[in-house]
């Protein structure tokens, strides 16, 4: 445990000094400030943040994460020459990746809100949920980046795979869902759609958020099914658990790869 903390502390210092993380935090700071200026902290104004959370966080996290693991390779090799357990080093490195990015996102979003003088009361649950979803997506894509960097040795290829994974999850999967809905339009689609949503962390986060925005009212029967399943606290907990699972499984595979790796 002590080793983990040491590695985390070192990596935190390293990453916080990294200007990309600073830029990432500044980006959210500016964006949120602009949104507040333009639309106030109403649920509708927060909606614009949703696109960023869903599209931008996965992209930045997976690209930054892949580079991070490859960049810390020499450091890793050095440490492994010392009497340091592999698992401890892995956990330390992983936390050193996910924590600063999450913190940058949270700070970038909440600071302007505090300066602005709080949030409209009816958008507070939505904001909290959005923060949770953002952090969860950071963890998920951090884990995916770790897995990719652990499997693909070549730096450029790893980056390519990372971008491909991002494209698959944000674009291709939704394209697939659209194809499914159009093709099987005359069959009951609610349950299959629910399954397809759970199979993709980005969709899971997005649907969780748009349901809070009463989009369920626009969806008629499908909306009712989704709202019953994901709209309540139980559903929200399940969705968050789903996201956690999405971080855990690639993370465990990455850990296995890290253990077996010849370094």
């Amino acid at each position: 445990m002590n080793t983990i903390l040491k590695v985390v502390r070192y990596e935190l210092r390293n990453v916080v000094r990294n200007r990309w993380v600073i830029a990432y935090a500044l980006f959210f700071l500016v964006l949120t400030t602009l949104l507040l200026r333009l639309g106030g902290s109403t649920p509708r104004a927060l909606l614009s943040l949703l696109n960023v959370v869903v599209l931008f966080i996965p992209l930045v996290t997976i690209v930054f994460g892949t580079i991070y693991w490859h960049g810390s390779r020499e450091f890793t090799e050095l440490l492994l020459a010392q009497p340091v357990r592999r698992d401890a080093l892995f956990h330390g490195l992983f936390a050193g990746l996910v924590l600063p990015l999450s913190a940058a996102f949270m700070a970038g979003v909440t600071l302007p809100l505090l300066l602005y003088g709080g949030v409209a009361r009816d958008s507070l649950p939505l904001l909290l949920l959005m923060l949770v979803a953002g952090v969860a997506l950071t963890a998920v894509f951090g884990a995916l980046a770790t897995l990719i960097a652990g499997i693909v040795d070549d730096r450029l290829r790893a980056l390519g795979v990372a971008l491909g994974t991002w494209g698959l999850m944000t674009l291709a999967w939704d394209g697939f869902i659209l194809w499914v809905t159009m093709t099987f339009a005359d069959r009951p689609l609610e349950q299959p759609l629910l399954v397809l949503t759970f199979l993709n962390p980005v969709d899971l986060a997005r649907v969780l958020l748009i349901l809070r925005l009463d989009v369920s009212a626009m969806m008629g029967y499908t909306g009712a099914v989704f709202a019953r399943f994901l709209g309540g606290w139980l559903g929200t907990a399940m969705a968050v658990a789903g996201l956690a699972l999405w971080a855990l499984i690639p993370g465990l595979f990455a850990l296995r790869a890290f253990r077996r790796r010849d370094l």
Partner: protein, 434 residues
């Protein structure tokens, strides 16, 4: 001499003054302990004053031309078993009374106050609590219902009655009332020349306003908010709806304003905000929709292809999930001079209008129309990508549904063609909000 003639004329014109207007005072401990007893003695032109107290008596029937006015705290109680007051005479005024607890009925349209086949009644500043039907006008002319406050007990749609219910009447004015918790807030059927102004109809079990077969009516500066199904109006011609606010009517079957078979009407200067569907047109023909604001709705405007020759001009569309939805590639209405926050064109000649037409129907709106479950992809990047592709190369969206003169900037009120009065009323409502 002239003075004498005038005096004589006065006496002839108002015979009651000759006898003197009597004032009958109803008091729980007095000579007239019930309103019914006062009415039994009343003659045309009398004034009945109801002092503070709770009056439990059988249904009160008014058969003379009287004014009944209640002091504050004058409560007529229906004891959950019967209608409270029935007016069957002309020129009756009911003022300042509190009606409560009619109970429910499955066999009759039991109302707190029923005015039947009368002319020139005035119903003012009354309070109705737990009425099944609130104020019910049946075959009346030239009646005024003003500044009443109604709170119904409708738990469920099937069990509720309407707040202000007008049936087969002419020249009825409904103004300044607040109606909540009924089935339909304000209900008009077979009414002509009605005026509905400055009312607030909120949190009703079905519609905030519901009218059918009621030609030549005016609805202005009302607020319809958070009703289960919004507002639905049907089978009517020459309606004017001006400066109303349709707000937060959310639900799978909720509409800000649903027009079904409405023709030759004007929808002007209204505000549609945060409704599932802002304005819905089905079989609606030759209507003018102008100067309205559509903000933050699921669908701003939904127009079915069986609607013809409507003009949608000088409206603003901002922050709607879908600005315009339709069920067909055909379109028989005109769109012009609207402001669309999604418009991405340019204005080289600087006349304030975009040089390229705007197609307000997104490809995704069409997809959703055919397969509603696809709506879970809302705000997915893929959908934005598809919409972009369609905008660059339109293949599927209705190419006749175009705004040829989209505005470049959000117009101020005068440009939107609001009449002065409607505008001031709208702002007044805005300032009234907490």
């Amino acid at each position: 001499m002239t003075r004498a003639v005038l005096l004589a004329l006065l006496v002839v014109a108002r015979p009651s003054t000759a006898q003197g207007t009597r004032e009958l005072v109803v008091n729980p401990g007095g000579a007239l302990p019930t309103v019914g007893m006062a009415l039994a003695q009343a003659r045309d032109g009398d004034r009945i004053v109801v002092r503070q107290g709770v009056y439990r008596e059988p249904t009160i029937v008014v058969r003379h031309r009287v004014t009944i006015s209640g002091d504050s705290g004058a409560v007529l109680d229906g004891e959950g078993t019967h209608a409270i007051m029935v007016v069957e005479a002309n020129d009756v005024t009911i003022r300042g009374l509190t009606f409560r607890n009619t109970g429910m009925s499955q066999v009759e349209d039991r109302a707190a106050l029923l005015v039947r086949a009368a002319r020139g009644c005035r119903v003012e500043r009354n309070t109705v609590r737990d009425g099944f039907f609130g104020i019910y006008l049946q075959r009346v002319t030239q009646c005024v219902v003003a500044d009443n406050d109604l709170l119904g007990n409708a738990g469920r749609q099937t069990l509720g009655g309407n707040g202000i219910h007008v049936w087969q009447s002419d020249s009825v004015t409904v103004t300044g009332n607040v109606v909540r918790g009924h089935r339909d807030g304000i209900y008009f059927e077979f009414v002509t020349m009605g005026h509905v102004r400055d009312n607030t109809s909120a949190s009703n079990q079905r519609y905030g306003l519901h009218f059918m077969f009621s030609d030549d009516c005016v609805y202005a500066s009302n607020v319809f908010r958070e009703n289960e199904s919004g507002v639905a109006v049907m089978y009517t011609r020459r309606v004017r709806m001006e400066g109303n606010r349709f707000e937060r009517n959310w639900g799978a079957a909720a509409y800000g304003l649903l027009l079904k078979d409405i023709t030759d009407s004007e929808i002007r200067g209204n505000s549609f905000a945060e409704n599932t569907v802002g304005l819905y047109l089905e079989g609606a023909n030759r209507n003018l929709v102008t100067g309205n604001t559509f903000a933050s709705n699921g669908w701003g405007l939904r127009i079915l292809a069986n609607s013809e020759a409507n003009q949608v001009t000088d409206n603003t569309f901002t922050g709607n999930s879908f600005d315009v939805g339709t069920n067909s590639r055909q379109n028989f209405s005109t769109f012009s001079g609207n402001y669309w926050d999604r418009y991405r064109g340019y204005d080289l000649d600087r006349d304030g209008f975009g040089d390229v037409p705007h197609a307000p129907v997104r490809l995704f709106a069409l997809v959703v129309e055919q397969t509603p479950p696809a709506l879970i992809l809302l705000r997915s990047p893929v959908v934005d990508l598809l919409d972009f592709a369609e905008r660059v190369m339109p293949m599927l969206t209705p190419q006749t549904l175009l705004d040829a003169r989209p505005r470049m900037r959000f117009p101020d009120r005068t440009q939107r063609g609001l009449t002065g009065s409607a505008e001031s009323r709208v702002t007044r409502h805005e300032s009234r909000r907490p």
